[in-house]
Amino acid sequence: MSLRKFAPTAASYEDNWFDNPIQDILVKIVGQYSATADGACPVELPGGSMAYMKPRPDTQKNLVVAREKIAADLAHLLGLPVAPTVVKRPNPADGACYHSALSLVCLAAGRTWQNGGQVHVASCFEALESLRVFWSWIGDIDHNGHPGNLVYQVTTGGVDVVAIDHSYSLCHQNLNDPLTSGACNGYQTEHLPQSTEVRRKQIAAIQALDATEIERLVRRLGEILTIPEQDRILGILDVRSKALIKMLKMEGV
């Protein structure tokens, strides 16, 4: 069963943005930057679809953008519900004077988790627990129950979720210690029935990823990441992948 239940219009962007990570896209800014750490503002894409653009002009730039892109691409490989992301080149025509991350809006009736999501945990625990393992792998510290970084919608078919905002990942606080942050707490799914099985499967899926493919995804961002930055990110992903079982207390389970 797919955990990525995005709006039909998202399908035309998903593969294109994954295959072509850095693009020249002219956007129309249609709202204000949020007051969150890096800031994001709604933009309209040339075909009429909507996305959020970050970061705000007064914040850190390329590393934030790269973390967003790498998280989205790794989630794409794993089939996890993280908003597809592309790196947008600067373009004076739309006022963007630095590289930005465009994160696709995937749910038509989106509602942030803080506005009632917790009552739906049982309906979407597989997606949430899988994401918790993923966040633990990439050293994300901004999904420890964060009320605004998870979006959901309810349909007759169930509850769909999409994770947004992965700029606080890949050990952004301490690049020299890959294990500086522990397991992600996620959204209270750890102790639900069947979560152990979901966790086991997701750890296996991450550890089975082709290392050369992960390296390709990171290295192709050379336009915004220096070689030492790429090396450090690859090192973090490698070390944390091997540490996942211990980190998530799955030894002997």
Partner: protein, 171 residues
């Protein structure tokens, strides 16, 4: 002169967040002014209900409150008024509420660029002036999706009626 913080929010429901051209349903306007150490005023004008056609374009499984707007909006007003810190400092309760309904939500509080211009605090004029400004937004709360109107013979009114409720508090 007393420093004043003020904010005006447009409350709207985007029927499809993934598409820029999707209909946007106007829901209300929230206006706040806070003269630090002196007074605070909060007002909300909102539609009591959406039209049937508007509701048909809302995912009510995700947003059940849209089919029963009045108690929901009344609660939000109370939440903004009682927002932690908004009674003692110069914080704005409406800002706290708006952060909860960010652009990642179909129901959004969007900051209006138009300045409120509450000015310095005048115990006689300030509240009345803000109330008047708030009422002025009724004209922007017309339904955007309605059934075709069948004209009947009747004398035209000077102004259309808008089905709205107005709440305000001062302290």
């Amino acid at each position: 002169m007393t420093a004043v913080r003020e904010a005006l929010w447009r409350v709207e429901f985007r029927t499809d967040l993934t598409q820029g051209a999707a209909p946007v349903i106007p829901v209300g306007f929230l206006l706040e002014a806070h003269w630090k150490g002196h007074a605070r005023w909060l007002g909300l004008v909102f539609r009591r209900k959406l039209t049937r056609l508007e509701l048909d374009s809302v995912n009510v499984l995700t947003w059940p409150e849209m089919s029963n707007l009045e108690p929901f909006m009344t609660n939000l007003f109370g939440e903004a008024w009682g927002f932690p810190g908004s009674d003692s400092s110069s914080a704005l309760g409406s800002e706290g509420l708006a952060a909860r309904f960010s652009p990642f939500n179909a129901l959004q509080f969007v900051r209006e660029e138009t300045p409120v211009e509450a000015g310095h605090f005048d115990p006689v004029q300030s509240f009345a002036s803000l109330y008047g400004k708030l009422l002025g937004f009724r004209a922007r709360l017309h339904p955007i999706l309605t059934a075709p109107i069948v004209p009947l013979r009747r004398k035209a009114k000077e102004h259309d009626d808008v089905d709205v409720e107005v709440l305000n508090k001062a302290a």
